[in-house]
C-alpha cells in the first residue's frame, strides 16, 4: 500500500505497468486516472492541498480499502499545484484475486478521496478564475459504502 502526494507530473502508464508487473498473486488489476478536462476555455487548473493532512487522509482511505477487500496491493498518487488540460491529476490502482474486489476497491478509493481528502481545485479560464464546487453526487456516492 503506497500513497504519494507530489507537485511533479507522474507517468500513468509507467505506474500501471510497474503496479501490474509479474503479479501472479492477483488476477485482477484496476486503475483509474483523473485528467484535467477541457470543457471549453480552461487555461489551467490549480490544486491546493493541506500538507500533512492530505497524506494522513489518503493513508486512512487506502487502509480502509485494504481492510474491506482482499487487496494484494493498492496505490494512490495525487498531485497538487498547477496543471494544464490533458495532464493527469491523480491515479489509484488496486490488485486483488478477483475482479469484483479490485473494481469495488478502486471505486471506493475514488469516492472517498473526492470528498474526504483535502484538495481544492481552482479553474482559470478566459472568464477568470473560479473554485470548483463540490458535487452533491460525490457526497451521495459515499452512501453506497455504508457498512451499517
Amino acid at each position: 500500500m503506497r500513497v504519494r502526494v507530489q507537485a511533479e507530473p507522474f507517468d500513468f502508464g509507467a505506474e500501471c505497468g510497474a503496479f501490474a508487473s509479474g503479479r501472479a498473486d492477483a488476477g485482477a488489476v484496476v486503475s483509474f486516472a483523473g485528467i484535467v478536462r477541457d470543457d471549453g476555455g480552461l487555461a489551467r487548473m490549480e490544486l491546493e492541498h493541506y500538507p500533512g493532512m492530505t497524506e494522513r487522509a489518503l493513508q486512512r482511505i487506502a487502509s480502509e480499502a485494504t481492510r474491506r477487500w482482499p487487496l494484494r496491493d493498492c496505490l494512490v498518487i495525487h498531485r497538487f499545484g498547477t496543471m494544464l488540460p490533458g495532464e493527469t491529476i491523480m491515479m489509484v490502482a488496486t490488485a486483488a484475486p478477483h475482479r469484483a474486489d479490485a473494481f469495488a476497491a478502486a471505486e471506493f478509493l475514488m469516492d472517498y478521496l473526492k470528498s474526504r481528502a483535502p484538495f481544492w481545485k481552482k479553474e482559470f479560464g478566459a472568464d477568470g478564475a473560479a473554485w470548483v464546487a463540490a458535487k452533491d453526487a460525490d457526497e451521495k456516492a459515499l452512501g453506497r459504502w455504508s457498512e451499517d
Binding site: K114, S115, R116, F119
Partner: protein, 82 residues
C-alpha cells in the same frame, strides 16, 4: 495559542493562510463566533457555515467539537480532489 489554517476560498476571503489565535473558545462554533466578531472578512468567510468544513489536528470534525487540547484548526470548503 492555537494555529488556525485557511484553505481555498476561505483563505482568499480572509486573506491569510495561517495565523495564531489566542482563544478560550470551548468549541469550534465558539471559535468561529470569535473570528466573525473580529472583522468583516471573517464574517464573510463564515457567513454560510454549511459551505465550510473543519479539521482538528488534521482530522475532519464537526462544529460542535470541543477545542480542548487541539493545536491546529483548519477551515476550508468541501473538498474537490480526484
Amino acid at each position: 495559542m492555537i494555529d488556525v489554517l485557511y484553505f481555498a476560498w476561505v483563505r482568499e476571503r480572509i486573506g491569510l493562510s495561517k495565523e495564531q489565535v489566542e482563544s478560550s473558545a470551548a468549541t469550534v462554533a465558539d471559535l468561529v463566533e470569535e473570528l466573525k466578531a473580529r472583522e468583516e472578512r471573517y464574517a464573510a468567510a463564515f457567513a454560510d457555515l454549511a459551505a465550510v468544513r473543519v479539521a482538528l489536528d488534521q482530522e475532519l470534525a464537526e462544529f460542535d467539537a470541543p477545542l480542548a487540547g487541539v493545536r491546529e484548526v483548519a477551515f476550508f470548503p468541501p473538498m474537490t480532489g480526484g
